[in-house]
């Protein structure tokens, strides 16, 4: 759109851009403060300690498992929400988005309570299905906190796919399943991938529910956010800062990837 005639600088542009600059500068100052507090050597030493390495490894393993679960759930759920209308769909929508707005620690409390009920006790009694204070519990917490983001992205991605193209695929010899796999899924791929990345980044950073449901046992249920807490609680700021910077880098990479996926249609023509 061509620019409007008249002065480029006016009070609306000055005020809004000033707020923008203040906010961005504030975030950058915080990051710079972290970076300049410590030295690269101190950070490398901190990241090399066995506890921190174990926490990073457990974070990667649990979030990878969470990512698989999130993808498996968010695609069919997002598709169902996008394509089908049913009584109570507004309530279902609200329930699905609840974990986005509720305090994450409540999820940990709810899980703890659930696993004290008869059903929860029965699940815990099944060999290999222990969740409370175990890495599986970490995955469960990460999943419950992050899956809503992926479902919301999945629904939006399928909303963006013209349903008539799936119908047309049916007239071209496809079953409903094949129309989904050949038309809806590939056309929604960027939105689905962005949702998965967002959910994964969210899973990497959760802390509150883990403290309640999985505990903060060193080298056992310790993931990166737990490390930051544990190290700070004993006054060791260098390792806490090193892990914080690592999580910050992960978050930045995730955001870059999400934006790249949002622009991908320009390269792939979808």
């Amino acid at each position: 759109m061509p620019p409007v005639a008249g002065p480029r600088v006016h009070w609306v542009s000055v005020v809004t851009i000033a707020f923008l600059v203040v906010f961005v500068a504030g975030v950058l100052v915080l990051i710079a403060a972290d970076l300049f507090y410590t030295s690269p050597q101190a950070m490398a030493d901190a990241l090399g300690s066995p506890e921190v390495r174990a926490a990073i490894r457990l974070s990667l393993i649990t979030t990878a498992a969470t990512l698989v679960l999130v993808v498996c759930f968010s695609i069919p759920v997002g598709y169902a929400l996008s394509r089908y209308r049913f009584p109570g769909s507004v309530v279902v929508d609200a329930i699905i988005e609840l974990p986005i707005v509720m305090p994450p620690v409540v999820i940990g409390v709810s899980l703890l309570v659930f696993f004290r009920t008869a059903i929860g006790q029965w699940i815990e009694s099944v060999p290999g299905l222990q969740f409370v204070y175990t890495p599986k519990g970490i995955v469960l917490c990460q999943f419950l906190v992050s899956v809503s983001y992926a479902i919301r992205a999945s629904k939006a991605a399928f909303d963006g796919v013209d349903r008539r193209l799936e119908d047309l695929a049916l007239t071209l010899g496809c079953t409903h399943g094949r129309a989904f796999r050949w038309v809806a899924l590939p056309m929604a791929r960027n939105g689905l991938a962005a949702g998965a990345v967002m959910a994964w980044a969210r899973a990497v950073g959760i802390f509150g529910p883990l403290m309640v449901f999985a505990g903060a046992v060193r080298m056992k249920t310790e993931v990166m956010p737990t490390t930051v807490y544990l190290e700070l609680s004993i006054g060791r700021i260098e390792p806490a800062l090193a892990v914080s910077m690592l999580m910050l880098a992960i978050a930045m990479a995730a955001l870059v990837l999400i934006h790249a996926l949002g622009q991908a249609h320009r390269w792939w023509g979808t």
Binding site: R164, A169, L170, T171, L172, R178, P186, M187, T270
Partner: protein, 239 residues
């Protein structure tokens, strides 16, 4: 042979009622009617995208009234062509054959004569998004014809095209239809368009097929004042 008997369907408050029509094998039938008369709904019902409330549809002697769309052997080209934007032209045209289990390479080989007739070979590696309206139309036609359907449904196939392209595409439609001998139902608003391709035509008003016959017969002996008004208005408008 296509045999439609007392076909009725409902979409919201609108109803298409008691449509009966026989189409001879290889016939080119044009369905005329004003906007909102139910032409597109009828096409959707014929290809299985809308459920019929009553009546029957026989395609080549098979009752397909309640068959899934993929089992009807009816090809459909929607008004906006409905090309898959995430696939190149080659994968669009081989779509139906791949769905039937052929490999992409085999499907392309099998479709060679059709692609030559429609002059699509040079466009195979293009994205549908880069094609002109006429080229998109031809790709959609090739895709719908790939499985050699017994009935081809065309929903306003040239309405989005400019004058010269429209004439060229209409001629090509007729050529391909003759060459492949596929029974065709073509929906449009324009008498001139119908005159360029139709063996026979019908008029649909308010969800009812009110008259069928040779186009000249419809013009000379309209069955009702509504038909006369529609044909006269359309003729004057030179759509």
């Amino acid at each position: 042979m296509i045999r439609i008997r007392d076909l009725s369907l409902r979409a919201g408050d609108f109803r298409v009622r008691d449509v009966s029509l026989d189409l001879a094998t290889g016939e080119y039938f044009v369905l005329l009617g004003p906007n909102g008369s139910g032409k597109t709904l009828l096409l959707h019902c014929l290809c299985g995208l809308l459920r019929a409330e009553a009546g029957t549809l026989d395609v080549g002697g098979r009752d397909v009234t309640h068959a899934e769309p993929r089992l009807r052997r009816i090809g459909y080209v929607p008004q906006d062509y409905g090309l898959f934007p995430h696939m190149d032209v080659a994968r669009n045209v081989t779509f139906a054959l791949r769905a039937a289990g052929r490999s992409h390479a085999d499907a392309l080989r099998e479709l060679g004569p059709l692609l030559d007739t429609l002059r699509l070979a040079r466009l195979l590696d293009h994205s549908p998004l880069t094609l002109s309206g006429g080229e998109r139309q031809k790709v959609a036609l090739a895709r719908a014809l790939a499985l050699r359907p017994e009935l081809l449904l065309l929903d306003e196939p040239v309405s989005a095209l400019d004058g010269p392209t429209r004439a060229e595409v209409l001629e090509q439609l007729r050529t391909v239809q003759h060459q492949f001998g596929v029974t065709t139902m073509h929906v449009c608003h324009s008498i001139d368009e119908a005159g360029a391709v139709a063996d026979r035509a019908g008029v649909m008003i308010d969800g009812r097929l009110v008259q069928t016959g040779k186009l000249a017969e419809l013009m000379e002996r309209p069955a009702s004042a509504d038909v006369a008004r529609l044909l006269q208005v359309k003729r004057n408008a030179k759509c």
